[in-house]
């Protein structure tokens, strides 16, 4: 098939010939634009996989030139226009989602393909972010909420037999294994064990330079879908499986090497923790009160999993692109990458949504 000539408004400069949309996205400079909620979210009924592509919600990004991160575009000659579209997860998104989840559990060898299948088999709850009219159909972000109870091996009789939840067992084992702290271990054990029917695993992965303006609608959409699923799902078991009381989040942060020492040798201006994602900061330490009832940090074995997003003291966000990675490496030399596991109570989610809007929309 010969390459089609690129359309003018989607001309992407410096397009690398790489095998993954992830690599390609690193070459793309995305101009940060303000998301406009132009499209009304209508009430979702039970989704038919075949028509799910028609339910893509478009976020036209209007230009916001005063954004501080426009200075990162200096090395790229032009602007790149991108219309991000939100879709329900489909089975054809397998490869894109798998690439995004590659480092989800550090470098553990686990049934990642099975896990991706679980996410894609759940079109009612979950969103996949793509670019409109992208010939390569690349996946730029995925969010989903998986019920730990639904995917337990023993109760799989009702849901199709092929639903392989070996991955969920491996995930639970991993979490219990990395937990060094004994009192956190107790809480964690109960969350993944007896209380698993109330726990939802919040999966949220994206490419490094996805514009942050997409995050509030992405999360709002996810939590709305969870709410609708408790009413719209066909069977009683499915409906109750979405009644989450807790959300479990697995993420990565950078902790200052001196942060644990009480001598407080952290230099002025250096943060004790650097967050890869803005929502982690909200979940982790919110001045107005602890969001998370459980926080666990574990040593990250895979040191190369760097997602370049740093949040500074006043909550502004700075994006570091691949070409400024050297600068980032210098900044990060005093930091250790750590995995982060958090459990958040579901009742605090509306407050989280407001905080996220405040953080991003400023």
């Amino acid at each position: 098939m010969p390459r089609k000539p690129k359309k003018h408004n989607h001309s992407m400069r410096h397009r690398l010939v790489t095998f993954s949309p992830f690599g390609r996205s690193k070459a793309m400079a995305t101009r940060s634009r303000m998301a406009t909620r132009g499209v009304e979210k209508h009430e979702r009924q039970n989704k038919d996989l075949a028509t799910s592509s028609l339910n893509g919600f478009k976020y036209n990004m209007k230009d916001k030139i005063q954004q501080s991160d426009s200075s990162d575009d200096e090395e790229f000659e032009g602007d790149v226009q991108a219309d991000f579209v939100f879709f329900d997860p489909k089975l054809s998104d397998f490869h894109g989602v798998k690439v995004l989840l590659q480092t989800y559990l550090d470098n553990l060898q686990w049934d990642l393909s099975g896990f991706v299948d679980l996410i894609l088999g759940q079109p009612t709850v979950g969103t996949v972010v793509k670019i409109e009219n992208d010939e390569d159909d690349g996946v730029y972000s995925v969010v989903s909420a998986l019920s730990l109870e639904r995917y337990k091996a023993s109760s799989c009789f009702l849901f199709c037999v092929f639903m392989d939840s070996k991955c969920v067992l491996e995930l639970k084992d991993f979490l219990l294994k990395v937990c060094q702290d004994t009192d956190v271990l107790g809480k964690l054990k109960s969350l993944v064990g007896e209380h698993a029917q109330h726990v939802g695993l919040l999966v949220s992965q994206r490419v490094v330079n996805l514009p942050p303006q997409l995050l509030p609608p992405l999360y709002d959409g996810l939590f709305d879908e969870v709410g609708w699923a408790t009413e719209d799902e066909p069977t009683k078991e499915l409906r109750s499986s979405f009644r989450f009381k807790f959300y479990l989040i697995i993420s990565k942060i950078y902790k200052h090497k001196n942060a644990d020492q009480n001598r407080g040798t952290v230099k002025n201006g250096e943060e004790s923790v650097i967050y890869n994602r803005p929502e982690d900061e909200i979940f982790f330490e919110v001045p107005s009160g602890m969001f998370s009832m459980l926080i666990l940090c574990y040593q990250c074995a895979n040191l190369t999993s760097i997602k370049c997003f740093c949040s500074l003291a006043h909550g502004h966000s700075v994006f570091a692109y691949m070409h400024s990675r050297l600068l980032l490496m210098r900044q990060l030399k005093n930091y250790r990458p750590m995995g982060l596991v958090m459990a958040v109570e579901a009742c605090k989610i509306s407050s989280f949504r407001e905080q996220l809007h405040l953080l991003i929309d400023e």
Partner: protein, 245 residues
């Protein structure tokens, strides 16, 4: 028989390994599982060599070779070159070549008799390929893609090419290569064939995401079901021809 395996959760086994009829190269790093799967299949027949190329693990995409030779990119270190010369059989000529397109595995796809190359390779490189690998070289594209080494893979028995290859292209390539070809996918619909699959005349290794359908296509086109190591088959053939006389 085709074996499914992974390299550190990554199903692109053709990136981290290089399999020919005379030797097998495997990337260092990763778990021992990867290496031991190759060892279990191949240890008695051909040497399985752990190596890096240019300090990287993507050895399958950087080098190109067959039973007669191995071509390495210009950024291979001297230690790596020496290690490979020491570990591989003497019949294999190991050569480092100066070529601008250094991902030789992506640019060259070959078996023991024919090679398909990237249209932009230097003339000297083409001559070296013909010399070192003992093959006839054809500059070709596969389904409109110039990096032929990635989108097709073939052995002396059969070949698998990019799923969007037209019937005419398929016939043309099949005539050039003198082996039956089939257009298909690997690793659950991935069209980068050579990254997901590495094959020689009697065995194949593909990523664990490969579906049963894809696996059966691979086993049928490469005739792996009743396959034996070629050395043994050749010996049998010699004795058979004797009886015809």
């Amino acid at each position: 028989m085709a074996t499914r395996l992974q390299y550190e959760n990554n199903c692109e086994v053709g990136v981290f390994s290089k399999l020919t009829n005379a030797y097998c190269l495997v990337a260092i790093g990763g778990s021992e599982n990867f290496y031991s799967t190759f060892e279990a299949e191949l240890a008695d027949v051909i040497p399985v060599v752990k190596t890096s190329i240019a300090g990287t693990r993507i050895i399958g995409r950087l080098c190109a070779g067959n039973k007669k030779g191995l071509l390495l990119p210009h950024n291979t270190t001297d230690q790596e070159l020496q290690h490979l010369r020491n570990s591989l059989p003497d019949s294999v000529v190991v050569q480092r070549i100066e070529e601008r397109l250094s991902a030789l595995g992506n640019c060259i796809s070959c078996n023991d008799h024919v090679a398909l190359t990237h249209p932009d390779l230097d003339k000297e490189t083409e001559e070296l390929i013909a010399d070192v690998l003992g093959v006839e070289v054809f500059r070709q594209t596969v389904a409109g893609n110039i990096i032929v080494g990635s989108y097709c893979t073939f052995s002396n028995i059969g070949g698998l090419v990019h799923p969007h290859t037209s019937i005419e292209d398929l016939d043309e390539l099949s005539t050039l290569l003198q082996v039956p070809l089939v257009a298909g996918t690997v690793n659950r619909g991935s069209d980068v064939i050579a990254a997901g699959l590495t094959v020689n005349d009697w065995t194949a290794f593909c990523g664990s995401d490969t579906t049963a359908t894809e696996l059966s296509v691979i086993e049928s086109v490469f005739k792996l079901r009743e396959a034996k190591p070629s050395a043994l088959v050749d010996e049998m053939r010699k004795s058979l021809i004797d009886t015809y006389v």
